[in-house]
């Protein structure tokens, strides 16, 4: 028996062998505000206070907490007795909201508890203290600067010296009543109090634990599967293999090439393939059963890179061959272009596979409900696609499957594919019990699709004055074992590989190849992260060869209204690239005397050298390429005069809830707080399409806007009938309907709808402007976002270590609907780009994963976070809601090349492999000391 005090409440509990404190809090006491991100003491999400000191509850034995005081996120807000739900937030919770520090929200309880521990020990911490204390509490949305500001303000309040101020973020230059103003997230309070529900936070009686047996071999044929030992494990309820699949055998977002389970004599294509799934009473039983399943593999030679996959004579991993797609861009004639150029340069670049490393690992809970329908609770970026794929796998019609989207603890493109959804549904169907499949970090790293590793060759021909004449690129993309979104991703990489520049002649060829590596799919930037690194590096190399300023070179060639892109699209509006370049340049030149791209010694240590680097980028908004891009939205009026807007698109930290609320409030001319947002439920919300391609503000936002507009029409028509007047005679203003001097509130309007027996809601389907497939010319995309960034690095010339000190960013987003959310998204995107440049490499050797734990895959922490100065450029796009276009990806794309260009400027070392290897930097600087080539 152990006694433990949690949030002031004493508990007497039995000791459970092997139990960690996080499990006790979450599963025994139901305090699910404490999150488990990695379960290996790396991410800090599970931080709670033990006698006031922050500890990692995921690896702290529960029994060790006996006799101690535990404080969790649930214990921070002051509970008010009447009414029970109303709480007085702790200053930290209030400050996190006011600063916009809350994004996906999954790490936030851990951030707040770590911060609380800091403030208890040090009531007045400085920036350095905060960085030290939060060093290992990771936020993948990277709201670190806002978190720091929140701690400072909360500390002041706790000392009785100050108050919490809103983060200093400018409103949109196009601000209206609601859009463009600073607003809190609708779900912010739930996220700072630990009440927000992610998939693993819900529980059903009789719920079983499901797990998949992974192959751990990258290429083989399964010859036998022996379940006899596994069946003997106590607590096992079901074991399924491919032989038990009665319906679909494969799933896939675009191509149905991904086996649900690999059967006897079928091909294993990567280490994360599943051969069996089990459901058990406990995690321990499930783990034991998985270990007890014996599989005999007939190992095959591994194809571990895309160049090898294209060689003649190698094994074809799929019936369609190893080539997923050859993607071509053709404009003019590059040979003519190169022949007429004054200077031609070329170089080959390599980028590593990278992992999303969202702090919330994948979790699906499936259950057959009382009506015999299948419900799946999952944090998914594409609920309707999950529904389709789950239905096909269990042989249900789609309307008998309901996907209930939970909050998503970071997605970044990594929660678009099926992970545990189908397996959980199959096991729930088999056992009749609810089944939960929660990946641990190891499984998450092993299984879900990554960012494509690429090899990109770029060749540029230019005139002496810097004008580009021809750009040619050749890309190899490692799409891994299965297609996922590989074709689309590599298409985007290819069409953007020419950069945001005008060139009369362009040619790009991309080979998206299947290999035996983990699949590659969507990841923030969608291929453009890779191709921007290549083209922007070569642009700097060109500037050096020509002896021109790198900013000037870009300005001379930058896309503008009227330009024709490499795919033959004439840009009609909203091309703010030149203004982005100018904003960054002005800021940069105001800070640095002389050439910002020249190396300067660090004032306190001349062996550390600083320099700035520059880059631009562009990124499409929306699916494009001829794909119909649509979103449905509902708007419904309630008795109390509030509205709800609904669509199935997902909130994954990017701020869709806030954006939809502000857009609908704007159109209806009511206070934002009067608009509620419901997302991601296939029974309750219409299909909003995939949450991908920076398309939510534009496409789902437009759907919300159109729904609100149509609802106003519906109000007019209902009132016109009731008051017997022309609909045009009715004005809807300030949340009121005005009819010939009579004023009705929305609550009154609701009553009128009821009287005339009309439902007070509307459903609309918004169709974005049509686009053309690649190769047909015309509008391949309906909008592009643009950006420029400058990064200042400091290189330790002794060790080769690189630190990013500052980033200046300018981003053309059309119009800023949600400036507070945008501010942290710009900073977070830059930090993710920094990770892509400096810390992140998902490593495999012969198809086997080396970085199979969080401890081996490092993402940026608060200690890496540079100061970010952000300028929002607003060139409205006519077809966007209030002029807005996509934001999510563009903010991250220019950062990596800005950093690597800065490294060149500081040291003369040209980074052509990502991530930056500090050893190679040191070798370049001290070339004479190194005789052997680096063997890496």
């Amino acid at each position: 028996m152990m006694e433990i005090i949690v949030n002031g409440q004493p508990y007497q509990l039995d000791e459970k062998p092997g139990e960690m404190l996080a499990d006790l809090l979450r599963y025994r006491l139901g305090l699910t505000g404490t999150k488990v991100g990695c379960n290996e003491s790396e991410c800090g999400a599970c931080t709670v206070l033990l006698d006031g000191s922050p500890v990692l509850s995921c690896s702290y034995p529960a029994v060790k907490a006996s006799g101690h005081n535990i404080t969790t996120i649930e214990g921070l807000a002051e509970k008010k007795t009447i009414p029970d739900q109303v709480v007085k937030l702790h200053p930290l919770q209030e400050a996190f909201i006011a600063k916009g520090a809350v994004q996906c929200g999954f790490c936030i309880p851990g951030q707040i508890m770590t911060s609380y521990g800091l403030l208890l020990a040090n009531p007045n911490p400085g920036d350095h203290d905060i960085r030290e204390a939060l060093k290992d509490t990771l936020c993948r949305c990277a709201g670190y600067s806002a978190i720091s500001e929140a701690i400072m303000d909360a500390g002041a309040v706790m000392r009785g010296e100050g108050h919490i101020t809103r983060r200093a973020v400018p409103e949109s230059s196009l601000a209206r009543n609601s859009v463009g103003r600073l607003a809190d997230r609708p779900e912010a309070v739930a996220k700072v109090t630990g009440k927000a529900k992610f998939s693993d936070d819900i529980h059903f009686d009789g719920m079983l634990i499901g797990r998949a047996k992974r192959t751990y071999t990258p290429h083989a044929f399964v010859r036998s599967i022996d379940l006899s030992d596994a069946r003997k494990i106590p607590g096992i309820r079901a074991i399924l293999t491919a032989a038990d699949l009665k319906h679909a055998h494969n799933h896939g977002l675009v191509v149905n090439d991904w086996p649900i389970l690999i059967g006897i004599d079928e091909r294993v294509r990567y280490v994360g393939d599943a051969v069996a799934i089990v459901a058990a009473d406990s995690k321990e039983s499930a783990d034991e059963a998985i270990a007890a399943i014996r599989v005999v593999y007939d190992e095959q030679p591994v194809i571990d890179n895309p160049v090898l996959a294209r060689q003649p004579g190698v094994t074809q991993l799929h019936e369609t061959g190893n080539l997923l797609k050859h993607i071509k861009v053709r404009k003019g004639d590059v040979e003519v272009g190169f022949a007429s150029s004054d200077l031609v340069i070329e170089h080959t670049f390599h980028t590593a596979m990278t992992d999303h490393a969202f702090i919330e690992p994948e979790c699906s809970i499936a259950r057959v409900n009382e009506e015999g329908r299948m419900e799946v609770y999952v944090g998914s970026q594409i609920p309707y696609s999950d529904r389709k794929q789950v239905a096909a796998a269990i042989g249900f019609s789609e309307d008998r499957v309901r996907i209930i989207g939970m909050l998503i603890g970071g997605g970044f493109g990594g929660k678009e594919d099926i992970m545990g959804q189908i397996h959980a549904a199959l096991l729930a169907s088999e056992t009749g019990h609810p089944v939960k499949i929660l990946f641990d970090r190891h499984e998450s790293l092993l299984v879900h699709p990554k960012r494509h590793a690429t090899q990109i060759h770029v060749k540029i021909g230019a005139k002496w004055d810097g004008r580009l004449v021809a750009v040619q690129t050749e890309l190899y993309g490692d799409t891994g074992a299965y297609a996922s979104l590989g074709e689309k991703v590599m298409t985007r990489a290819t069409t953007h590989s020419i950069g945001p520049y005008e060139s009369d002649h362009a040619r790009a060829d991309c080979y998206a190849m299947y290999t035996n590596n983990p699949p590659a799919g969507a990841f923030r930037g969608f291929g453009v992260t890779q191709s921007a690194f290549a083209i922007e590096s070569l642009m700097d190399m060109l500037a050096k060869e020509l002896g021109v300023d790198p900013i000037e070179l870009r300005r001379k060639n930058a896309l503008h209204v009227g330009s024709v892109t490499g795919t033959g699209q004439v840009l009609k509006d909203s091309v703010g690239l030149l203004e982005c370049i100018e904003k960054v340049e002005t800021e940069l030149r105001s800070r640095v005397e002389g050439d910002p791209f020249a190396p300067r010694p660090c004032p306190d240590d001349p062996a550390r050298v600083r320099a700035w680097g520059f880059s631009t980028a562009f990124k499409n908004t929306g699916l494009g390429g001829g794909a119909p891009d649509e979103a449905g939205a509902d708007v419904e009026l309630y008795e109390d005069g509030t509205l709800q807007v609904r669509t199935s698109s997902a909130e994954l930290g990017q701020g869709l809830c806030t954006v939809l609320r502000l857009i609908v409030a704007e159109e209806m001319e009511i206070a934002a707080e009067k608009v509620d947002v419901l997302l991601s439920d296939t029974d309750l919300t219409p299909d909003g399409g995939p949450t991908t391609a920076s398309r939510q503000t534009y496409v789902s936002g437009n759907a919300g806007l159109h729904a609100a507009r149509e609802f106003k029409e519906a109000i007019r028509s209902v009132l016109a009938e009731k008051f017997d007047c022309e609909p045009e005679a009715i004005q809807i203003r300030g949340g009121m309907a005005v009819i010939a001097g009579q004023v009705l509130t929305l609550a009154d309007v609701y009553q009128v709808f009821k009287e005339v027996q009309r439902e007070p809601r509307i459903r609309t389907l918004y169709r974005a402007p049509e686009t053309k497939p690649l190769g047909q010319g015309g509008d391949m995309h309906f909008a592009f976002s643009f950006a420029a960034q400058a990064a200042e690095v400091e290189v330790d010339t002794r060790t080769g270590e690189v630190k990013v000190l500052e980033i200046i960013a300018a981003t053309d987003v059309g119009a800023a609907i949600n400036p507070l959310g945008l501010a942290v998204q710009v900073e977070g995107g830059a930090v993710m780009g920094l990770g892509n440049a400096l810390t992140e490499a998902f490593l495999t050797r012969g198809g086997k994963v080396i970085t199979d734990r969080m401890a081996r895959y490092r993402i940026p922490s608060i200690t890496h976070t540079p100061e970010v100065t952000s300028f929002i450029v607003e060139h409205p796009v006519a077809s966007g809601p209030f002029g807005a276009k996509g934001v999510g990806e563009i903010v991250s794309i220019p950062t990596t090349p800005a950093i690597t260009n800065a490294i060149f400027n500081a040291t003369g070392y040209r980074v052509d492999h990502l991530p930056v290897d500090q050893e190679l930097v040191a070798r370049h600087i001290h070339a004479s000391k190194f005789v052997k080539p680096a063997d890496q």
């Binding site: 092997g18 029994v63 080396i850």
Partner: protein
């Protein structure tokens, strides 16, 4: 097509008609395999010894457990019957000066070691190194005993202790022994401690005399495992601007942490300066052969960094030593 599920009464679908019997045997979960069965938290050394005796032989001794518990939960180690957690043992929890030596309890959390005034006075290298192990949450739980017991060739705490000429007190049901730190190491990740029997009680180092100074430094890679590419600690005694005694430890330079005795000998009797440093760097590379580790560093890079770190730790230790020797004069 989906009649199986539709026909089932939801919530109790474990009856024989719900699924083929051979596919799943319903056995009530009684005794699932867990990382451990019994967890002991002895409060005194004698209690710890008693627990060891009563659990013999199937027990594992842990301290903060920040590494070992992960090895258990990730099944890199077989599950154990009994875990004996010695992090609350009172005799292992003090930092005190006694008989000219500084005793540091093996169970003191790293964050307290790093912040302790005695450690900062007598063993700056140890304060610097323990302040860099893991993150703050790990340092609140992890201990110096665990850092040494884990026996990594480049444990930050261990490298500093080694340079500071630390000894360790080990106890077990068989008795107590007092050994030089290096005697605890047999190979990478393998200590000479008898598993399930021996406990590191504390470490002791000579207290700071006027004219002594120590320092620690390391270089990490931003990618991959958070282990140092190379780390180094120095402890020197300076009198009248002459190095009287030098002690340099470096890792990873072989299966276990090591001292650079040739370098130590060379430095003794010298005044620190650029030519001594250059010659010292040469001697260090002559006696210590760094190796390449895939994905982390080549031997050549480590050679280069060894020179960088030697300059860093010697410069820092020299200034600290000279500052205190001036203090003595004045």
């Amino acid at each position: 097509m989906d009649s199986v599920v539709a026909a089932r009464n939801p919530g109790d679908g474990v009856g024989p008609d719900a699924r083929p019997v051979e596919k799943c045997r319903l056995i009530t979960s009684t005794d699932p395999m867990t990382a451990w069965k019994q967890y002991y938290l002895p409060q005194t050394l004698s209690e710890a010894i008693q627990t060891i005796n009563s659990c013999n032989p199937s027990c594992l001794i842990i301290s903060g457990g920040t590494d070992l518990l992960l090895e258990l939960t990730q099944r890199h180690r077989p599950a154990v019957e009994n875990l004996i957690d010695v992090s609350r043992v009172i005799e292992m929890s003090a930092i005190e000066e006694r008989d000219g030596r500084l005793f540091i309890g093996a169970a003191v959390p790293l964050k307290h070691v790093a912040a302790n005034p005695l450690v900062n006075k007598h063993a700056q290298a140890l304060a610097e190194s323990t302040g860099q192990i893991g993150g703050p949450q790990v340092r609140a739980v992890g201990t110096l005993g665990g850092n040494v017991g884990h026996a990594l060739p480049a444990g930050d705490g261990a490298i500093s202790l080694l340079a500071l000429d630390a000894w360790a007190t080990i106890t077990s049901p068989q008795g107590t022994r007092h050994v030089p730190l290096l005697d605890l190491y047999t190979g990478p990740g393998v200590s000479s401690l008898i598993p399930g029997q021996e406990i590191i009680v504390n470490f002791d180092i000579p207290v700071h005399q006027a004219g002594t100074g120590s320092a620690f430094s390391r270089v990490m890679r931003p990618q991959g495992v958070a282990l140092p590419v190379i780390n180094m600690a120095a402890w020197i005694t300076v009198d009248k601007a002459i190095i009287q005694q030098a002690s340099i430890a470096v890792g990873p330079a072989g299966p276990i942490p090591r001292r650079a005795q040739g370098l130590e000998k060379f430095l003794t009797g010298k005044t620190f300066g650029s030519s001594v440093l250059a010659e010292g760097q040469r001697i260090l590379l002559e006696e210590v052969k760094f190796r390449s580790s895939p994905l982390r560093a080549t031997a050549e890079y480590r050679d280069h960094l060894a020179g960088v770190l030697l300059e860093r730790v010697l410069t820092s230790a020299w200034h600290r030593a000279v500052d205190t020797s001036y203090a003595r004069v004045s």
